[in-house]
């Protein structure tokens, strides 16, 4: 197990470097630059800007100047558009917003999804089962960028209960709608997966053994069935995280949240090279680590799996 973990961690580093290089290459190939804006800049000024940021040097020099500080000091440089702000500061500041919304959304999805799915599995073919699975299907089919504005239309523009946008700290009314919007689709997926997993497990031999041993149904479910039945949910978490990321981008755009996703889109449109690279690298590392954690959790849940 330990060797597995170390091997995975080691492979992370070259992967990140590949990602960074790919991103850097994409940006360099594109037309336009970060310093073009409404006012046409006099030629001399443009030349001086070019020199200052090193854009007049050949491409391999520019690449080295980008990648070496990253390797050496993990220094991703300073944002081109947001003068004077280091990339790491920007990420550090916007990460809590995205992370808190994303995490809360996923936890909510887990809570609601697992509960609903388990009950649906236990009460199979009942009205509860049908209703919750139909609702789940709806949740999967309605995109978050349709659901979000619908919620805004209802709860904000009509009822005036909740604000339609902006971030006011984690513990404010502003957090409710974004979290709901983001978690809806995961609630749906997790409910379905839980139900499917539980159904399969509930039919299996060892559960029958537990039941015939006279254990209470609640113990049977929680201590035995749930553990194995949650396997599909755990393996879903890996790809779910990737989608959560993109879901966060959409939600941040709809609700104007100052999170990583929003910065990323702005940076891409502004050709803010250091910021794009910094965010992409950060996301890649997070994804890799999360996937590693998921695999470890998987091993913990299913004793048959050995790395």
């Amino acid at each position: 197990m330990l060797r597995f973990i170390i091997r995975r961690l080691l492979i992370t580093i070259p992967t990140i470097l590949v990602v960074i290089t790919l991103t850097w290459g994409l940006i360099k190939l594109a037309p336009g630059n970060f310093y073009t804006n409404e006012r046409a800049i006099p030629r001399q000024l443009r030349q001086r800007i070019k020199e200052k940021y090193g854009y007049d040097k050949p491409w391999y020099v520019q690449y080295a100047r980008t990648i070496w500080p990253i390797i050496r000091h993990q220094d991703f440089g300073i944002s081109l558009k947001y003068q004077g702000q280091p990339v790491s500061t920007i990420i550090a500041r916007s990460l809590p917003v995205s992370a808190s919304v994303g995490l809360l959304a996923y936890l909510l999805a887990l809570l609601v999804g697992i509960t609903v799915g388990s009950i649906a599995a236990l009460k199979q073919n009942s009205r509860w089962d049908y209703a919750s699975m139909a609702l789940a299907m709806l949740g999967i089919s309605i995109p978050n960028f349709v659901l979000g504005p619908l919620l805004v239309l209802g709860f904000s523009l009509t009822l005036y209960w909740l604000p339609p946008a902006r971030w006011d700290g984690f513990f404010s009314r502003n957090t409710i709608l974004p979290v709901l919007t983001l978690s809806a689709i995961y609630m749906a997926y997790i409910a379905r997966l839980t139900r499917a997993g539980m159904l399969e497990v509930l039919r299996s031999d060892y559960i029958r053994t537990a039941r015939s041993k006279g254990l209470r149904e609640r113990d049977v479910v929680i201590r035995h069935a749930l553990r194995a039945g949650l396997m599909p949910v755990v393996s879903f978490t890996g790809p779910a995280l990737a989608f959560l990321l993109t879901g966060t981008v959409v939600v941040e755009k709809i609700f104007a949240l100052p999170g990583l996703g929003n910065y990323f889109i702005q940076a891409s449109l502004n050709r803010d090279e250091p910021l794009i690279i910094g965010i992409v690298a950060f996301i890649a590392i997070t994804l890799l680590l999360m996937n590693l954690l998921v695999d470890i959790a998987y091993a913990y849940l299913d004793p048959r799996i050995r790395y």
Binding site: I11, T15, V18, V19, L22, T23, L26, I27, L29, A30, G32, M137, L138, I140, S141, I142, P143, N144, F145, V146, P149, L150, V152, L153, L157, A196, L199, E200, P232, A242, L245, T246, V249, V250, K253, I254, F264, I265, S268, L269, R271, I276, I279, V280, I283, A284, L287, L288, N291, D302, R304, I305
Partner: protein, 342 residues
């Protein structure tokens, strides 16, 4: 022996939960006469079996019907509309006072009118025509991108599975690495910096970008299938008779993996459509005057407090189609999986 399904082996956990029927247990088209009673038993093939099972699943049928209807309507709808009310998806009225968003079933002055059953968007374009075009494009993007990912994924997975050993190891490791990349992020950077100036160019970029996102899982599935198939007798027989490797892979193995591949493909289409919608929503996907449901939704969201129909019609249509595709995919999965999960 049961009439329409057989006992199967439980597969490896890590290969997903799709189950296949090894070919030698499938009853071939034509009959096997062993007992006199068999004369009255009509033989069936795997596919016919699956089809019958699918039809029994009402929800899947509903899904199938809706999908087919949607496809037909988005194909023939626009010409019909053009010939009745005269509107196409990009027709902007030359009278500039008509360039505004009209509610459904109303005319510009507010009186009742049949000309715009879904209303118009901000530029005065008929929303019904645009939703139909959106259907065409979204479905097209979904299907073509899925086909692209199919072609790449199936070939890759089949080759890896068949060749096995070190090659398989490296190929799958590459897949692992690619899997952990923040793909969508790179796609966004790609689309943001390479914005094509023509609408068609942007579409092509989208096909490539979206197709390259979903082939990984397909490759894994196919590889799993091929791994379990490759030691079957029919493969050994083929090898013994000197069939070349590529023919073995593509003519013998791949067709037998079609079951799970079809299921996964049917489930990928809505995923891809959703991704395209999300990209169009962010402004990177389909550009005006073309429309996809996603770009229509993003235009509609802009005006949700004032002109809600601009979001509701494309949104509901998209939800309905995705809904149906998901049901259909589920139904297919059940149908092709003889061990009914009841």
């Amino acid at each position: 022996m049961n009439e329409d399904h057989q006992e199967i082996r439980k597969p490896d956990h890590s290969e997903g939960d799709l189950i296949h029927t090894p070919p030698e247990f499938a009853v071939a088209e034509g009959e096997i006469h062993i007992l006199p009673e068999d004369d009255h038993v009509a033989g069936t093939s795997l596919w016919k079996d699956a089809w019958r099972r699918l039809l029994r699943n009402k929800l899947a049928v509903f899904g199938l019907v809706v999908v087919i209807l949607t496809a037909i309507i988005s194909l023939i709808g626009p010409p019909i509309i053009r010939n009745t009310t005269g509107f196409t998806y990009d027709y902007i009225p030359s009278d500039v006072t008509l360039i505004k968003s009209i509610p459904p079933f109303k005319s510009a002055s507010g009186a009742f009118s049949w000309s715009h059953p879904m209303g118009t968007d901000n530029s005065g374009r008929d929303l019904l025509a645009r939703v139909l075009l959106g259907g065409r494009i979204s479905l097209m993007v979904g299907i073509i991108s899925t086909i692209v990912s199919l072609i790449i994924g199936v070939s890759y997975g089949a080759v890896a599975g068949y060749l096995g050993g070190r090659i398989d190891n490296w190929m799958m490791r590459l897949v692992d690495v690619l899997y952990s990349l923040p793909y969508i992020i790179l796609v966004i950077v790609l689309l943001a910096v390479f914005r094509s100036s023509t609408a068609v160019g942007q579409l092509v970029l989208l096909f490539i970008a979206l197709g390259s996102v979903s082939w990984l899982t397909m490759a894994r599935i196919v590889r799993g299938q091929v791994l379990s198939l490759k030691n079957q007798e029919f493969v050994l027989a083929a090898r013994a008779t000197g069939v070349s490797t590529s023919r073995i892979i593509f003519r013998h193995l791949v067709p037998n993996t079609l079951g799970p591949v079809i299921v996964y493909a049917t489930l990928t289409i809505p995923q891809v459509m959703l991704t395209e919608a999300f990209l169009s929503f962010l402004g990177f996907g389909v550009q005006p005057p073309l429309a996809s449901w996603g770009s229509l939704a993003s235009e509609g969201i802009q005006n949700i407090g004032i002109f809600p129909w601009q979001l509701i019609f494309p949104g509901v249509t998209m939800a309905l189609t995705l809904f149906s595709l998901n049901f259909l995919g589920d139904g297919l999965r059940d149908a092709l999986d003889p061990q009914m999960r009841k």
